[in-house]
Symmetry: none
Subunit: 417 residues, 2 copies
């Protein structure tokens, strides 16, 4: 069973609105096991809309249109569907009565243009729209199904998760799609593929990598017949990937790296502090994005100016001024983490220092390259500082530094757990 | 001149990501006067991608692909474009040397799959990608132009507003598009529209509002004939808007509110510190996103746990424990800002405290609602704390809190300047 979306609206093509409706429908198709391999977007133009619908009908079993159901002359989805299905437009009398009644009750004048909303191809039935005037349409013709939905979010969403998902589920004949996402840190996308290449071409389970900042997600997807064990096909593949990658698989589903780190600390009864320089507070920001972080994360220090590394964290000025160290150094990252751990009375502390600017900086007569970053982790037995050389602009370097700080902490926790 | 977008990626069809890149390109086409009447979205499948490109080339002068340029086997845009243009794939030696050098400098192993990123159709030239490994492509063949762009936002955006908009502007011939963005804080979108409604329907200059978190941007756009004064049409409209809105227009173009605040502080020789609770470091993170922030921003304290508000910032425990105050209160916001100002030796400090969780919290026997946020500003004569009641989920409340902290600081600076 294959579906295709045709999004209708010049405002989408002009970039005035982002097509979140289509993304939401895509998720619904996936969860119902309906293949979705094409999507088209066309403006408010009848010949082009009709042509797009014909193309969609030539290659999909189900075509879903979004938008173009309103009362104005710009709204021509009904006309396009009628033309593409070669089914004449008729006025649905029940809808006409309903709309006239609605307008009377709301005290609005009934205009003839409103009557357009009561039209439907003869082969279609209306779909109730509780939040708007234009009903949706469900047309069946020559073995194909066309579903027409309104564009406004508050009308679209309840119709999709109500009558439309029910109709699509019936059409796709039972069964469902099951998917699991494995979240991986510390291995690049290409290196990861090299290690699981044989699993990328399995017949029954799709394994798809998605590169994120500093991590890779692997989505495992399979189709499950009605009554079958949903984990039977996907479980062994996930186990095999976990066996090959070990602790690089830090979590599953919606579990972020910061949530996983907090969970590990919580499990061991440890309190965390941060000491940040180039990330300016973003590590604390990431940790506190997790609901419930306050029982593990105490807080931290943003020591952006070098003088504050000494004043707020007790980093010795001799280290800050030494040509072999300087503010961007392994020694300062270590001292910052130790300082935060001591000053906040935490068990564990993580620190960042580095060069985020687009050009190198000179410290104590020594040049430090853009993207040179040190992460320190204090506590957990010994203090460990790690050097990274990151690429990209200021924003990219900082975002990746946050991720590498969390990854360093994660690895220390796994190594000592 | 007609353009068509082909967005490539199974993750788009599955609804895992929303195609904001395509919307942004649509805006660029509109501003350049390039017609845009079709958009296609296809998955990571070579025959379907090639077919989609052939269809696009049959009806558009310019085809822009988004996504599918990475190093993995899923990334097949290069192959699809080569097939559709009937131009053989070759390895671009300069790109190969650049990539190998990049990998060596970053200490990553060079794998053969990375070499895919150096491939291009023979008729194409690479487009520099400063934030990623895969370059873009600009192919010209049989009177058609194909532009290939990477999908990740941080790679896509600078390429679009750099070399790609320049190439498209040249292609669309004659004159150029001039636009200015006024950035407005402290007025909602609807109220703003009420105050400039007559300017939204001008013939020569398009004035379009875009609502952002805590601020509104007004984009003024006009087409300028070759040789004409680029500011002649747009300047008077911008002046009129500034006259009506006063200091609510805090900046223009890429000037963020944090950059503007730092500029105002720098102009007055003032040093800034932060004291954050519910924002967890995100205010410091925003300030340090600005290149050159280190000459104004000293650093700050993330006092997430209540005990740290006393330990790190000297907030009196009597205030933290008082039923009429508590950690989420005007008094604590004020004391946090004063504490940060004193401890870091800053001239000015800004603080945040509030309830970011989705449910209310009880403090000292008093219920504090979700979204209740206090911002303190110390220095500039007197300490001022402001109460906000924000809506939304945890993430929204925190992001808006950052914005309102910066806006409060901006208003204090304007009031005392």
């Amino acid at each position: 069973m294959r579906a295709e979306i045709v999004s209708v609206g010049t405002e989408i093509l002009l970039g005035q609105i982002v097509d979140t409706n289509a993304a939401e429908l895509g998720q619904l198709f996936a969860s119902l096991g309906i293949d979705h391999v094409h999507r088209q977007t066309v403006g408010d133009n009848l010949p082009r809309l009709t042509e797009a619908l014909r193309l969609a009908l030539s290659r999909a079993d189900i075509v879903v249109t979004i938008g173009g159901l309103g009362p104005t002359e710009d709204d021509m989805t009904r006309d396009g569907v009628a033309a593409a299905l070669e089914s004449p437009l008729v006025v649905d009398e029940a809808v006409e009565v309903h709309l006239k009644d609605l307008f009377t009750r709301r005290g609005f004048a009934w205009t003839t243009s409103q009557l357009r909303q009561a039209q439907r191809p003869a082969c279609a039935v209306p779909i109730d729209n509780p939040n708007g005037t234009a009903p949706g349409l469900l047309a069946t013709s020559k073995g194909k199904t066309v579903v027409c939905l309104p564009g406004p979010r508050n009308e679209f969403v309840p119709m999709v998760y109500g009558p439309v998902s029910e109709a699509l589920s019936n059409l796709s004949g039972g069964g469902s799609i099951v998917s699991r996402v494995l979240r991986i840190v510390g291995i690049g996308e290409a290196a990861l593929e090299d290690r699981i290449r044989d699993l990328l071409t399995l017949e029954d389970v799709t394994v798809a990598p998605y590169a994120k900042v500093g991590e890779v997600h692997l989505r495992l997807t399979t189709r499950v017949a009605p009554g079958a064990d949903p984990g039977a096909k996907i479980g062994p593949v996930a186990d095999e990937i976990r066996a090959r990658l070990g602790e690089a698989v830090y979590g599953e589903g919606e579990t972020s790296l910061e949530a996983r780190v907090l969970e590990l600390l919580r499990g061991r009864g440890l309190k965390l502090a941060t000491a940040e320089s180039l990330t300016g507070g973003l590590v604390g920001g990431a940790l506190t994005s997790v609901d419930g972080s306050s029982d593990v994360y105490l807080g931290g220090v943003v020591a952006y100016a070098s003088s504050q590394k000494e004043a707020l964290l007790g980093v010795p000025s001799s280290v800050l001024l030494a040509p072999e160290h300087g503010p961007v150094s392994e020694a300062v990252a270590a001292a910052m983490a130790e300082g935060a751990r001591a000053r906040l009375g935490a068990d564990v502390a993580v620190s960042t220092t580095g060069v985020a600017g687009s050009s190198p900086v000179r410290e104590n007569g020594v040049e430090k390259a853009s993207g040179l970053v040190f992460v320190g982790v204090a506590g957990l037995g010994e203090t460990v500082a790690t050097r990274f050389q990151l690429g990209g602009n200021r924003e990219t370097i900082r975002i990746r530094s946050v991720q590498f700080a969390l990854a360093s902490l994660y690895r220390r926790l796994m190594a000592t757990g």
